[in-house]
């Protein structure tokens, strides 16, 4: 599950449309009520949700009851690969995170993405309190509408956001366009890990990969993967250890391992300027091989 938040007009609908268009998986969007993303679509009544179909097998759902019940109904009826919750009017992001961690064990919580409207931030000296509370929970901040703002102003915007949430990774975007790879982890179907994310506006995003046919010491490998350098915003792939084979996903320090078939260890590490960490990380991974 990914969460999407942001103030009025920051680009949430644009981001959702981008996700549905570009992503190669089945996405269910959950919102408080149907926005522009689902006009003119037939509405299917559920018990805790109302649903409309979007392109590519994706669906958009509006909340008509309790959040947990709605999520369970979505999982049951739609069987999506990913649920994108647009939190406005549903609950504040930290409340959703709490809900998922407490009561929805079948969900892996991936990124919390908050959109910053760079243009609006330049025009208004204060960051609203409601908006600030959202930025505080973000893993990723998309500094959107950068085409409307100068380079110096952008630096200022990023500084202000950094003050509110020093841990979040920021990507500069125009119309929320960025490789969707950056926004979510891996899913079951085998993925081509060695392909780095394409570069458009995200020039400083770098990646490196690690591949090995050897078997690794489970505890030592998982320890390394749980303690990656800060600049590695996202890491994902497959690992083979003495204890078995796992699908590994990490975003902004949040790590998960799920049992999964894997023929070899295949990992990709993504973040700002991570090339400089490449050697250190690869060395510490190699040190976990079973001799």
């Amino acid at each position: 599950m990914i969460l999407i938040a942001g103030s009025l007009g920051s680009g949430k609908t644009t981001l959702l449309q981008h996700l549905v268009t570009c992503a190669d998986r089945k996405i269910a969007i959950l919102m408080n009520e149907f926005g522009e993303i689902a006009i003119d679509s037939k509405i299917i009544q559920g018990k805790h949700i109302e649903m409309t179909e979007l392109a590519g097998g994706c669906v958009c759902c509006s909340l008509a009851g309790e959040f947990e019940a709605a999520i369970e109904e979505i999982i049951e009826k739609v069987r999506p690969d990913l649920i994108a919750v647009e939190t406005t009017g549903v609950a504040e992001p930290d409340a959703v995170i709490f809900d998922v961690e407490e009561s929805l064990p079948q969900i892996r919580l991936d990124s919390v993405i908050v959109l910053a409207d760079a243009d609006a931030m330049i025009n208004f000296p204060d960051l609203g309190y409601v908006t600030r509370a959202q930025f505080e929970t973000a893993d990723v901040i998309l500094v959107n509408k950068v085409d409307l703002v100068g380079e110096d102003e952008l630096d200022e915007v990023e500084e202000r956001l950094d003050e509110v949430n020093p841990g979040a990774v920021m990507f500069r975007t125009v119309r929320c366009e960025l490789p969707t790879d950056l926004l979510f982890g891996f899913d079951r179907p085998a993925r081509d890990v060695s392909r780095p994310p394409p570069r458009d506006h995200t020039e400083n995003i770098q990646s490196f990969t690690f591949t090995s046919e050897e078997v690794f010491d489970h505890d030592r490998l998982t320890a390394v993967l749980q303690d990656l350098p800060e600049s590695v915003y996202r890491a994902k792939g497959f690992v083979r250890t003495r204890r078995g084979q796992f699908l590994f996903n990490a975003v902004a320090g949040r790590v998960s391992f799920e049992a999964c078939k894997a023929s070899q260890t295949d990992l990709v590490f993504i973040g700002y300027c991570v090339e400089s960490e490449r050697n250190v990380v690869i060395q510490s991974l190699n040190d976990c091989r079973i001799p």
Partner: protein, 485 residues
């Protein structure tokens, strides 16, 4: 919070932040609070109330009531009196839940009469008054009928058999605010609202059965005027607003205002959440008109719920609502912008008073009061947490200092998420039942969010309003049964 050094304590209950505190402040800001409440206020309150003081047309002071805490642009508990001709209107100063408010209903029943039926009453109310996120009402309306209701308010309900004429007399605006025009609301707002009339909603919305113990009647004469005459009299208080409809109206117009505020009107505000437009501008008037639709929708909502409550009591207790004298004391709003006439610096002016999470509290003999309350002053209903109790107060002449505004509730002290981490719904329900309060909720998580510990001390808040002279207590009520969304 650590109280900034620039804050001057004017009286025991009034704290003033001078206009020199922040660039752009046109007037000082005043926070009404006791020492204890002031030290417990979050930093956001000072930030926000001083931002409100920068709005074009603001008169005298930007206020924050004793139960204040940070909100969208304006603090909750915020009162902004703005010159109608020179100033702006701002949806953040009204709130997303337009016309969220409280209605108080008396009965001629005593606690002893009601106690044996309490569980059945609460259970039946729970099943017959829809509550919870996304709940839909029992009124099956078309979009067209809904558009009519938002123009006619509670008057439509009475005309269609939901209640009595005298219910309207004891409602602000006589149950319908004039000038609501449904052409100013979006189709999306209609779609969100048309099946929500007759629903409580969720969050801090509730329906409570309460008791007035003799030792909690502070002014017997005014209590009598307000209908409290019997020891251990049972009353019903409920709290709800305009649901998704009001929310959509606010969202729609925040977007409109953001587009025109700077470009068309050259208005600069520090915080985008303070989006506004000149009150007399076409956009400002459109929002004002749409807001009135929100007011009427919530008045209709409370009227229809009242009707349901009367039906349930009648069914469970086997007597008619008339026999049980189920009468409305008053219906107050706490999220509105009202056009009123006030004396400002010796001159009478038209003032647009924004009250968000704050209640109007007209003093004796003021225009707009029902005849029966001309001597006593307006009834003011302030709800505490579901564990502690609520108050009925009266407006006073010295309320002119805050443009006749006072607190609305006891104000949250922690976020909903923090409350859920600290309190447990099921345990709370059991504890309350041990103390004689029977509560039924749609969601245990929602119940935890409403724990008494998540709110300020209501007695402290009421004490501060009285000490400051903006309202005076008449009766305190203790909860015995509660339905929560």
């Amino acid at each position: 919070m650590a109280i900034p050094k620039e804050v001057n304590r004017i009286t025991d209950s009034i704290w003033e932040i001078p206009a020199s505190y922040k660039d752009g402040m046109r007037v000082p800001a005043r926070i009404y609070a006791s020492q204890k409440l002031m030290s417990e206020m979050d930093d956001g309150v000072i930030d926000q109330v001083t931002n409100v003081a920068t709005l074009p047309g603001i008169l005298k002071y930007a206020f924050c009531m004793p139960d204040g805490h940070w909100g969208y642009g304006f603090p909750i508990g915020g009162v902004a009196p703005i010159d109608a001709d020179q100033g702006v209107i701002s949806p953040g100063g009204v709130g997303f839940d337009i016309n969220c408010g409280m209605r108080l209903v008396t009965t001629n029943l005593t606690y002893d009469e009601v106690r044996p039926h309490l569980k059945k009453l609460v259970d039946t109310l729970f099943s017959r008054v829809p509550a919870g996120v996304g709940s839909t009402g029992f009124l099956k309306l078309s979009h067209g009928e809904f558009r009519t209701i938002v123009e006619q308010g509670a008057a439509w309900c009475v005309d269609n058999g939901y209640g009595r004429e005298d219910d309207l007399e004891t409602t602000e605006e006589d149950g319908c605010i004039a000038g609501a025009d449904s052409s100013k609301i979006s189709q999306k707002a209609v779609e969100r609202g048309f099946n929500q009339i007759g629903t409580l909603g969720s969050g801090n919305h509730y329906l409570e059965i309460q008791v007035a113990k003799p030792e909690h009647v502070y002014d017997a004469e005014t209590a009598k005027t307000f209908g409290i005459t019997i020891p251990n009299q049972v009353v019903i208080m409920f709290h709800c607003g305009s649901r998704g409809f009001g929310h959509q109206v606010a969202t729609d117009y925040l977007q409109v205002f953001l587009k025109v505020m700077q470009k068309k009107y050259g208005i600069q505000v520090r915080d985008r959440e303070l989006a506004c437009a000149p009150f007399r501008s076409p956009e400002g008037q459109d929002y004002y008109t749409a807001m009135k639709c929100g007011i009427n929708m919530s008045l209709a909502n409370r009227q229809v719920i009242l009707h349901r409550i009367r039906e349930v009591f009648s069914d469970v207790l086997g007597r008619s609502a008339e026999e049980m004298e189920m009468n409305v004391v008053y219906d107050v709003s706490h999220n509105t912008a009202k056009l009123e006439r006030h004396m400002v610096d010796g001159r009478e002016r038209e003032v647009l008073v924004h009250r968000k999470g704050a209640t109007r509290a007209f003093g004796p003999r003021m225009d707009g009061l029902p005849t029966r309350y001309l001597d006593s002053g307006q009834p003011v209903i302030i709800g505490g947490s579901m564990e502690t109790g609520s108050y009925l107060l009266a407006g006073v002449a010295s309320g002119d200092q805050t443009f006749y505004s006072t607190a609305h509730g006891s104000g949250r002290t922690m976020s909903r998420t923090k409350a859920r981490k600290q309190f447990h719904g099921k345990k709370l329900q059991r504890d309350m039942e041990d103390r004689g309060i029977y509560v039924k909720s749609v969601s245990f998580a929602g119940l935890a969010e409403e724990a008494g510990g998540a709110y300020k001390d209501i007695d402290e808040v009421i004490g501060a309003t009285e000490a400051a002279g903006i309202s005076r207590r008449v009766v305190k009520f203790l909860p015995i049964g509660n339905v929560k969304g």
